[in-house]
Amino acid sequence: MIVAERKPVNEIVEMIKDADRVLVLGCRGCVSVCSAGGQREVEILASLLRLGRMKEGGRLETIEATLVRQCDREYIDEMDKWDGEYDAVVSMACGVGVNFIANLRPGVRVYPAVNTTFYGGSAEQGVWSEQCAGCGNCVLHLTGGLCPVARCAKSLFNGPCGGSQNGRCEIHKDVPCIWQQIHDKLENLGRDDDLDAIAPIRDWRTAGHGGPRKAVREDLTV
């Protein structure tokens, strides 16, 4: 899922300082699962924003809602039922949702309530960890299913770097060295010969270094 976390309240209060009516809009997708921008978080943020405005001596009206997703046109269309009832939208979706609202509703002021942090999974309740960098050229078939792009602090392809100690990363001592884990995993699978192959210099254009990426599926377009 896409993992996000709420921005500090005072930052959001500042964004909406000249709006008197705000639509606080959550998303029932990834940000609900990681408890950053679902219905509960919408209710909490709306209350905090009202309090923030009260602290400034004013009054803020809020509409609290969530969309099925904020990354599809048909769900963004559901916003239209609140037309004329708000001055600004505070989106609790990931950055994709904020962009979609901005793209599809050019006349709407939309502000982000969360920082979109990474693609990850829930390691345990309340803890999420990055697992994928969305680099557009997956190498997991060569690395025992463990990603050296997202999970190595240096994104090395012919690791480990030499700085890891006792199986821990030299940059973040609380993080396992993923190259140690890749070695262990391939050894367990009897595939350690795969590690002899030298990974060539990588073309990072697929990772977004060549500008915004786009996927087109001709079999699905109409």
Partner: protein, 140 residues
Amino acid sequence: MSFVPDIQVICCHYTSQQILAESKEELRRDGLPENVTINRFACGGKIRETAILKAFEEGADGVCVVACEPDKCHNVMGSRRAAKRVEAVRRALAEMEVEPDRVMMFQLERGFHPDFVRAAEEMNDRVAGFGPSPFKEGGR
């Protein structure tokens, strides 16, 4: 005239059962300040952040959350969940440059009301020292 804060106590059924069996007069005699209002929830696990924030929106100067001792919650995890949510509200208050101690969590033995009264008194004294809630009348 000295400031008398509006203190809202949000508590679980089990920690408040004994104290709520008393009349208002008995509570005053026990030392519960008159400006303290008790709001009872089924369990600490049912006390959400929004309940605490709503109290401030409605004019509270301080909110005192009371639930069972962490390992003695009738519903196992309720008091721990309440403590986490209180902590989340305290962080949000700090982000808004409001005293986090306007919200405090007390985990007390069930039905032992002298401690309950002391928690309310402690909260009352602390918040009286802070002065009125900055959410009232546009802060200070």
